[in-house]
């Protein structure tokens, strides 16, 4: 390996002051004799210094409105599900006396734990998708009266995800309007988020391809999340809670989405 190559490879550690004294002296000797490498070393140190100098201010960025509230809500949802889990434990511990009973209790507890674990996972899924629902409608909802073409959305989703999703179109019978779609982030993947308006209320359909979940229906952060799976895809319908007139539209979306 040439001396220049060796020097260039060591420049980050040299700039960071992480080399052993003899290594550092060897680099310094080369830099004194080699102007091109010296320029690279100068730039490396300067780039580093600019960043280190500004590091504390770079890490300060005013939070956008709503993010703090959504994260607080996620924390509350997480705490709630953990509390539910912790409530289970003393129950079986105090009854773990006779061996036979202990076995029965253990089996029961295991199934209850898995059930709760699923609920916990559903609660977090629902909380995050509800947060996404609120954010997307706040930032991206089109003006009132604007409708979207389901075929366009299906085409875009097919191009982006390589998977055909049937997007329930607007339906006058159920007073449901398809108003748009965007890509939302959940887990490590991007999740199609289809946006509707029903009787003036914001309604979201999230599509999680490649996952199967047991059906669930839960309320979190003031919104109802209905979870179901079909043909290897999980759907989550998020609607405002405490609104009675969305049942027809919900049934329509759950029937049509695939």
């Amino acid at each position: 390996m040439s001396e220049c190559r060796q020097t260039i490879d060591s420049l980050p550690a040299f700039a960071d002051g992480l080399l052993q004294p003899d290594e550092r002296r060897a680099i310094e000797r080369h830099l004194a004799a080699c102007p091109p490498c010296r320029r690279l070393a100068d730039d490396e140190r300067s780039g580093r210094r600019v960043l280190r100098h500004a590091a504390s201010t770079l890490l300060v960025e005013p939070l956008p409105p709503g993010l703090q509230g959504r994260c607080e809500a996620l924390v509350r949802a997480g705490q709630g599900s953990r509390a539910a889990l912790s409530d289970m434990r003393p129950w079986w511990r105090v009854r773990l006396v006779p061996v036979l009973l202990a076995v029965v209790v253990m089996i029961f507890t295991a199934s209850a734990f898995f059930s709760l674990a699923t609920r916990r996972s559903d609660a977090l899924l629902a909380a995050q998708l509800t947060a996404d629902h609120s954010k997307c409608f706040k930032l991206f909802a089109p003006a009132a009266g604007v409708t979207a073409d389901p075929q366009n959305i299906e085409h875009v989703l097919s191009e982006q995800y390589g998977r055909n999703v049937h997007v329930p179109p607007s339906s006058t019978d159920d007073d449901i309007q398809l108003i748009g779609a965007r890509r939302c982030l959940y887990g490590d993947g991007l999740v199609p988020h289809v946006m509707y308006r029903v009787h003036g209320q914001d309604v979201s359909l999230f599509v999680l391809p490649g996952t199967e979940r047991k059906p669930d229906d839960l309320v979190t952060l003031g919104h109802r999340s209905q979870i179901w799976s079909r043909d290897g895809t999980t759907f989550v319908l998020v609607t405002p809670a405490d609104t009675g007139d969305l049942a027809g539209a919900s049934r329509y979306v759950m029937r049509e989405a695939r």
Partner: protein
């Protein structure tokens, strides 16, 4: 048997996470260069932190742990979106071009003098945003968040040599970008 955080601990843990929202958002914004995606990334980080709270070792650095989750998540998104490969392809030519254009006329002002003129934060943010994703993430992790090479290598799932090379090129590209900004100012 599974380990479990005490309920009081859970409250504290959640409150502690919320304390770090601002630096997390600042990091997410630099990585994504987009406010909506940055919000998504922060939310996703909070959800994962809550989901995997049992894996956090008490007494260790929570901010670093949260940051690791955030960077991991972002790396996976780059990978899924195919942007990581694209950034690597651009790597060599971009660096060579940058180094070739850094001629003597642009060097009338030495790097140290350039620094002494106090780069504006807005200029620095804009220059960072111009870097390809992999270099921007590498210099941010090292010089802003002060992770070690080994920690960064683990986070990004690449060898330490690759981490060092990305940091090095990122720093030089950043300086070149700042020079361009000042030349056009």
């Amino acid at each position: 048997m599974f380990r479990r955080r005490q309920p009081a601990d859970a409250d504290t843990f959640g409150a502690e996470i919320l304390r770090y929202l601002e630096p997390l958002y600042a990091t997410a914004l630099r990585l994504t260069r987009n406010r909506a995606d940055a919000e998504d990334l922060v939310q996703d980080t909070v959800v994962k932190a809550l989901r995997f709270s049992d894996r956090f070792e008490r007494g260790t650095n929570l901010r670093a742990w949260l940051s690791t989750i955030l960077h991991n998540t972002w790396r996976n998104r780059l990978r899924d979106a195919g942007r990581e490969a694209a950034a690597i392809e651009v790597d060599s030519s971009l660096v060579e071009e940058a180094e070739a254009t850094a001629d003597d006329s642009q060097r009338a002002e030495t790097p140290e003098q350039l620094l002494l003129r106090n780069t504006l934060d807005a200029d620095l943010r804009a220059a960072l945003d111009e870097l390809p994703d992999i270099f921007r993430q590498a210099v941010w992790l090292r010089d802003v968040e002060e992770f070690s090479y080994a920690e960064i290598a683990k986070m990004l799932d690449v060898p330490i040599g690759t981490v060092m090379s990305r940091i090095s090129r990122g720093r030089r590209l950043l300086l070149d970008q700042l020079r361009k900004t000042k030349a056009t100012a």
